[in-house]
Amino acid sequence: MKTINHLEEYKSYMSKLGKQFSISAYYKEKGKAGKNLTAEDFNYISLHYEGGLLQSVAKQLDIECNFEIVPTKLEDYGATYLQLSIYVPVQGYGVETIDLGMYFIKSVEKQEDTNTYKAVCYDAMFVTMQDYVDMGITYPITVRDYITEIARYLHWNFKNWQDTFANYDKEIPRELYLDSDGKSLGYTFRDVLTELAQVVGGVICVDDSTNALEIRYINDTNDTIDENLLKDVNVNFGNKFGPINSLVLSRSADADITNPVEDSESIAENGICQIKISDNQILNWDDRETYMQEIFDKIKSIEYYINDFTSTGILYYELLDKYNVTIGDTTYNCIMLNDEIELNSGIQEYINADEMGEYVADIKKSDKENNKINKISLIVNKQEGVIKGLVDETEDLRKYQKTVTGTNNVILTNTQTSNGAIGRLEISNFNDLSLYPSMTYPSSTTYPGKMTTYIIVTTNGSTIIDETYIDLNTQLSGTDKLIIDNGKVYISRNDTLIDTEKVVGINTYDNETTLYVKYFDNLNYVCNYIVKNDFTTRFATIGELNSSITQTADSINLQVNKKLDSEDFTGANIILAINQDESEASIMADKIDLKGKEINLTSDDITIESENFKVTKTGVVTANSFNSNNANITGGTLKLNDGGASSYSDARILLQSNSEGNYAYFTSGQFYLQKNGYSANLQTGSTSINYYIGKSNVNLASIGSSGIDYTIGTAVAFSVRENGVTFIRDGKYINWGPYSLEKFKKNISKTKICALDLINNTDIYEYEYKEEEQNGKKHIGLIIGEDYKTPKEIISNTKDSIDLYAMISISWKAIKEQQEIIEQLKERIEKLERESGK
């Protein structure tokens, strides 16, 4: 409040007909001599500000003058200005001077028709209307030192530099209003001061007398004005706003609201009046709740009448002055928030104050109803992983409350296990004191007819789940009520609410909870509680959720941390972090589940890379291992570089069945098969290729490429060379032939085949093989087929080839038969020769 030496005389003078005033001004332009100005030099002066708590407030001066005036350049701040005072000659008591302060000219228009100048000016807040820049501050820094540094940078004095205002000693850990490169994030100094005003729980403005930056709080002037100073039109006094009794902080978009700091007694008496500070950079971090109490201490209990009136000219109230207006028998307590002083032909002063939050951009008064469930933060359906908009759901939360009544007990339905679901429980009708006079409680002590401890029993079905003991140190009777409001215990007695300073938690349980006071009948119950729903932190999970979305101009960071501490869960932490900036987007989680039919990576230069797996932009896949139930690779080439592995353990392609010991593997020079002890091993060397067949690690056969050698164990072997085929058995070279030892044969008998007949009845053909190139050379041999005379005796068991051994054997028999015929013919010739005497 400005100093008025003879206040009551002044008020009287200002309310009368015939008051007069004059203007004294001083205009200084950089580089020029200053000018003393009077009312003659002005056609019009209007001074106004729109203020409110938790803001920075600037005063604006609009003038129309007859002298040339130029805008103040920021760099000339302090060198070009206009200083203004009003003089009021209070008859008989001297002249009262009302200093309106120093102003800096923002803009000027010349009115050519009247040769006057219209100018818009601001108080020293003018200098804050520039982009916030790096001031070279070393962090961490206390709030007080930070404001001091801002004032110093702006060439401004700071009135409170030694004061212990709210949160003055809290530390700001880092630069909050510039990006990591020190570039502007779009804040002005004015914006920063507005946020600092919220941090200190007051207003940041200019002190007119010193022109210094000031942190201002509500100032109770104990001054009263009456209807003599109010014009007879436009006098409006509305409802009372406040008292403020709750404070919450929220991050952007009304998300993540803190638990409130509140005055529960005031809430119980007056209903909730909550202030919410949102989107404050300083109050956006994990330590934000440490600021709340001191802020709340500055704003709690603030109350005033909403008002709008025109005065005959008061002029001495300053922003946040608390004063009273008496009209008749009614007194309205008011706070100066908005003021407009118009000096034209006469003095007009327009004063008004609205509800806080109506015009303060970053502060909202939450609806009282919704904040009865005041544990709501960001609405997350944790069970389904769905995040829903807070505002809409907040409005709907009322449907999740239910009030039930009962006598003897009260039954709460659709409940869920929680210790915070009961909002308000009211128990009354404690009339029968003679119940259980000999009841033993709580130990062997007997309290005949008296009970000061009340036991609230909760049951789930017929099972008593819990008993909550409330020791009141007094006996309830008559019209007394026992009230439990959000856990706090009160006694209502003779219309007075007594805070017992006790806090209890009453548990509810799944589906249905019955509640009653033990040992008492005929009590009346009224219970307001929250039914099962997805949207309160009491019910969504048995756990806690922290989520944050941090967004700057070039990055988005989304984090969800879920900590489960119920025995029904594994207790695993699930962390999802998505971070995207201008050059990189990363997603971190224990498990990332992408559902859909197609994942489309359309960039030409996509690279997928992890510690053990990589796909380059050219499609090269590098992996430590590859497991698949059924992998099909079509087209192209599958190349594996084994680095020269030569054994199972180093192999680069391994096919392995579930049975141990059954596998196949490829290396760069080897293909190995093994099953049930049998193995096939194809090896290539620099000059040879070998194929080994074995059993139980013993070679049964091998094929080599230096020539080709076929080894079948050690019993028989044959080699194929350019010059022929060689058979070896027991180390001896043998001619190829079947086994003839008697021990290999059974059912032995001499053949009775007539070999000559067989041979004479066999046709020999000339033929070519179908797959053979025609070169004019024909083969001679037998044909197995229909209409071909080939005896079955020489057809092999497979019926597709000639048994050469059988054919030779029959040929041998045919020779014997022919020899027998020859012998017979010789004998006959000899007989005929004897008979002819020759």
Binding site: L17, F21, L230, D232, V235, G346, I347
Partner: protein
């Protein structure tokens, strides 16, 4: 209060004239001007800012000849004047900046040296409030 009509001197257009000889009457008025905030307060009391007292001299001219009218006309036409007059409250001659209202004169005949116009009045009002 008018004491000596010869005390009224009009300065205009870089000339001056002692206008008293042309007058039959001069009325000195001291008019209060109230601000736009004038009205009643909530208690019903009249309130408001007194902007000041602005002197006004209303002069009644006698019938004038043509020559006299031609002499006075430029002064009567002027928008701004300075007027020197005797102010009884100050006990001295006072010079004030004034503006004037319209003037009208009735001629029933063509005026000449002998035939005169009808009497008429003209007023000057102080631009500033009386100090």
């Amino acid at each position: 209060m008018f004491i000596d009509k010869n005390s009224i001197v009009i300065y205009a257009n870089n000339n001056s004239i002692n206008i008293g000889e042309y007058l039959v009457e001069a009325k000195f008025g001291y008019h209060k001007l109230w601000g736009q905030d004038s009205g009643r307060n909530l208690a019903g009391t009249q309130t408001g800012t007194l902007l000041g007292i602005f002197p006004k001299i209303t002069m009644q001219f006698r019938a004038l000849t043509r020559e006299e009218l031609e002499l006075l006309a430029p002064y009567l036409d002027s928008a701004y004047q300075q007027v020197s007059y005797y102010d009884a409250t100050k006990h001295r001659q006072v010079l004030m900046d004034t503006y004037s209202n319209d003037w009208e004169v009735i001629n029933k005949n063509i005026i000449s040296g002998e035939v005169k116009n009808a009497p008429f009045s003209w007023a000057v009002i102080s631009v500033k409030k009386r100090g």
